[in-house]
Amino acid sequence: MNPVATPFFFYFLSAMALISGVLVITRKNPVHSAIALIFTLLSLAGLYLMLYAPFVAGVQIILYAGGIMVLFLFVIMLVSVSRVERESQFNKQWLVGIAATAALGVLFILVYAKGKSVFPERTVQLPEQLNTQQVAVWLYGTYMLPFEIASLLLLVAIVGAVVMAKKRI
C-alpha cells in the first residue's frame, strides 16, 4: 500500500515539530513547555511512521510521550514555584549562546550543501510488515551486548534516581 499525500504530511508534521520546538524553549511556564514538547514528540512519531519505522514510532509514543513526559510533568508539579515565572528567563550568556548555535546551524547547512552528493540517491526498501521482527533480530543478535549494557544503564539510573530524590533511604 502506497502512502498518500506524503509531502503534505511531511510538511505538516515537521512544521508542528518545529513550532512546538520553538515553544518549548521560549515559554515561561515549564508546564507549557512540557505540553509543547509532547506535541513535538508526537509529530516526530508521525515522521517515523512515514520513514517506515513503525516500531520506533510505537516506542517513541509509549516511552517518550507516555513515560518520560509524565515524569517531567510530575517533577514540575513537585518543584513548582510561582516565583520562577517572574524572574528573568534567560541567563547572561544568551547572546553568546545564540551566536554559537547560529554558527552550528550554518555549519549544518554548509555540510548539507556540500555533502548532497555523499548520500546515495537510492533508498533501501524496508519491508514494513516485518519491521518489528527485523529490529528484534538486530537487537538480540548483533547488538546483544549494547542491549544488555542498556539494561544495566537503566538499573543504574533507577538506583541513582532513588538515591538522589529520596530523603532518607
Binding site: M1, I35, L73, M77, E128
Partner: protein, 430 residues
C-alpha cells in the same frame, strides 16, 4: 451503490488495509456511535446493578425502570453552566479533556470486532494501543494542574503515579500474551491485533487457557492493572470523594466534565477489548474448533450448505439473546400497574419489546447471522468485563495509597515478570 456495499461485504481485509477510506470513515462513525451508546447504556446499567447489589431499586422515575435516565443525564450535563475558574490556566484547562477523550477513542482504530470488522490492522497494533492509551494520563495531569486548586493537583499526582506504576505490570502481561503467539507451527509471533486472534485460532485455544495456569495468571495481572489504569474502584484514589472531593475533575463542570466521564468509560471499554482480544479469543465463539455433526438446514436465501450442528446452534445465540430481552420487556409491560398515568410508560416498554423482537428476527436471516456473530461474541465478552468493573465497585473497599503502590511494585510487577519468564521457558521446552 448496492454493488459497492455487497462488494465490500465479501472482502476479507479491513478497510484500512484495502485503502478504502470511505468504508474506513463509515467504520469510524459506527464505532464512535456505538461507543457513545454503550457508554450511555453502561451508566444506566451501573446504577441499576449497583442498586440491586445494595437491595435498592435505582433509577425508576424517568421512563419504565429508569430506561430514559441516561438521556436525561446527558441533557442535564449539556445544559449545565460551563465554568472555567478565574485563576485556571485557560488553554491547558481547555486542552486537557480533549486530550483524554482523543486518547481514549483513538485506541479503537485497531480493535478487531471481527476478522474484517476493524478500522485497520497495524502490524504494531498492541504497541500502538498501549502507547495511545498511556497518553490519557497526560490529559489527567494537565487537568489537575490547570485547575490551579489543591484537590485536583493531589488527585492528578496520585493518578499519574498510579497509572505509570501499573502500566509496567500491564505491559509485562501483554508481552507474555504476545510471546504466546509465536508458538505457532510457523514460529513467528505478531503484534497485530487481528494476528493475535488468528494465532489463537491456529493454536486451537484461548491464550487464557494456554500453558495452564500461565495464561490465567497473565490475564489476572492484566485484569488488576487495567482497573488501576482506568482509575476505577477499588483503585479510584485519584477521585476518592471522601478524601479529594472529585480528584482531578473537581473544577470541571457541564460539557467538559461529561467529556471526562465519556473518556473514563471509553477507556474501560478499550482495555476490556484488549483483554478480550489477547486472552479470550477476540471475536471467536466459545469452543471454536468444535463443529459437531454436519447437518443441512433448508435455506431460502442461499443454496443449502451442510453446516456443523454446533456451529448452527451457536449462530442462533445472538437472536435468542434479543428474544429473551424482548420477553423480559414484554413481561414488564404486563406487570405494569393499571393506572391511567402509567399508560405512556406501558406503551414505551411495549414498543421496546417489539423493537428488540424485531432485531432478533433480523438476526435470524442467514447472511446477517454469519456477519453479526463475530461482533456479538466480542461485545458479549467485553460486557462480562464491564460487569466485573461494576461488581468490583460494589464489593471491594478502596485501597490506601501506599497499599496501592506496594501491590503494584511488589506483587504485580514480579508476578508479570515471573509469568513472562515462565511462558518463555515452557514455550521453549514444550
Amino acid at each position: 451503490m448496492l454493488d459497492y456495499v455487497t462488494g465490500y461485504l465479501s472482502s476479507n481485509v479491513t478497510p484500512g488495509q484495502a485503502g478504502n477510506w470511505v468504508w474506513a470513515l463509515i467504520y469510524i462513525l459506527l464505532i464512535f456511535l456505538g461507543i457513545s451508546l454503550a457508554v450511555m447504556g453502561m451508566v444506566w446499567l451501573e446504577r441499576k446493578i449497583l442498586a440491586h447489589m445494595q437491595i435498592r431499586l435505582g433509577p425508576m422515575r424517568v421512563g419504565p425502570h429508569g430506561l430514559l435516565q441516561p438521556i436525561a443525564d446527558s441533557l442535564k450535563l449539556l445544559l449545565k453552566e460551563d465554568i472555567i475558574p478565574e485563576n485556571a490556566d485557560k488553554v491547558v484547562f481547555w486542552l486537557a479533556p480533549l486530550m483524554v477523550v482523543i486518547a481514549a477513542f483513538t485506541v479503537f482504530i485497531v480493535i478487531p470486532f471481527g476478522p474484517t470488522h476493524a478500522v485497520t490492522d497495524m502490524n504494531i497494533g498492541i504497541l500502538f494501543m498501549l502507547g495511545v492509551s498511556s497518553l490519557g494520563v497526560l490529559g489527567i495531569i494537565m487537568a489537575g494542574w490547570a485547575s490551579n486548586s489543591h484537590y485536583p493537583l493531589m488527585g492528578s499526582l496520585r493518578s499519574s503515579a498510579q497509572m505509570v506504576s501499573y502500566e509496567i505490570a500491564m505491559g509485562l502481561a501483554v508481552v507474555s500474551a504476545v510471546l504466546m503467539t509465536s508458538f505457532n507451527a510457523g514460529g513467528s509471533g505478531t503484534l497485530s491485533m487481528i494476528g493475535i486472534v488468528q494465532a489463537q485460532a491456529a493454536q486451537h485455544t484461548w491464550f487464557a487457557f494456554k500453558f495452564f495456569p500461565l495464561g490465567l495468571v497473565a490475564l489476572f495481572v492484566f485484569a488488576v492493572a487495567m482497573v488501576a489504569e482506568t482509575n476505577r474502584a477499588p483503585f479510584d484514589l485519584p477521585e476518592a470523594e471522601s478524601e479529594l472531593v472529585a480528584g482531578f475533575h473537581t473544577e470541571y463542570s457541564g460539557f467538559r466534565w461529561s467529556l471526562f466521564f465519556l473518556a473514563e468509560y471509553t477507556a474501560m471499554l478499550a482495555v476490556s477489548s484488549i483483554a478480550v482480544t489477547l486472552w479470550l479469543g477476540g471475536w471467536m465463539r466459545p469452543f471454536p474448533s468444535w463443529h459437531g455433526p454436519a447437518i443441512t438446514i433448508p435455506n431460502f436465501w442461499e443454496h443449502a450448505a451442510p453446516l456443523g450442528a454446533v456451529d448452527f446452534a451457536f449462530s442462533l445465540v445472538p437472536a435468542v439473546c434479543f428474544f429473551v430481552l424482548a420477553a423480559f420487556a414484554f413481561i414488564g409491560t404486563l406487570r405494569m400497574p393499571k393506572h391511567p398515568l402509567m399508560k405512556i410508560q406501558k406503551g414505551g416498554l411495549g414498543a421496546l419489546a417489539l423493537v428488540l423482537a424485531g432485531i432478533g428476527l433480523v438476526l435470524l436471516i442467514p447472511p446477517v447471522r454469519d456477519r453479526i456473530q463475530d461482533i456479538f461474541w466480542f461485545v458479549a465478552k467485553v460486557a462480562v468485563f464491564m460487569y466485573l468493573y461494576i461488581w468490583y465497585r460494589g464489593t471491594f473497599p478502596r485501597y490506601r495509597f501506599d497499599q496501592l503502590m506496594k501491590l503494584g511494585w511488589k506483587v504485580m510487577l514480579p508476578m508479570g515478570l515471573g509469568v513472562l519468564i515462565a511462558t518463555a521457558v515452557v514455550g521453549v521446552l514444550v
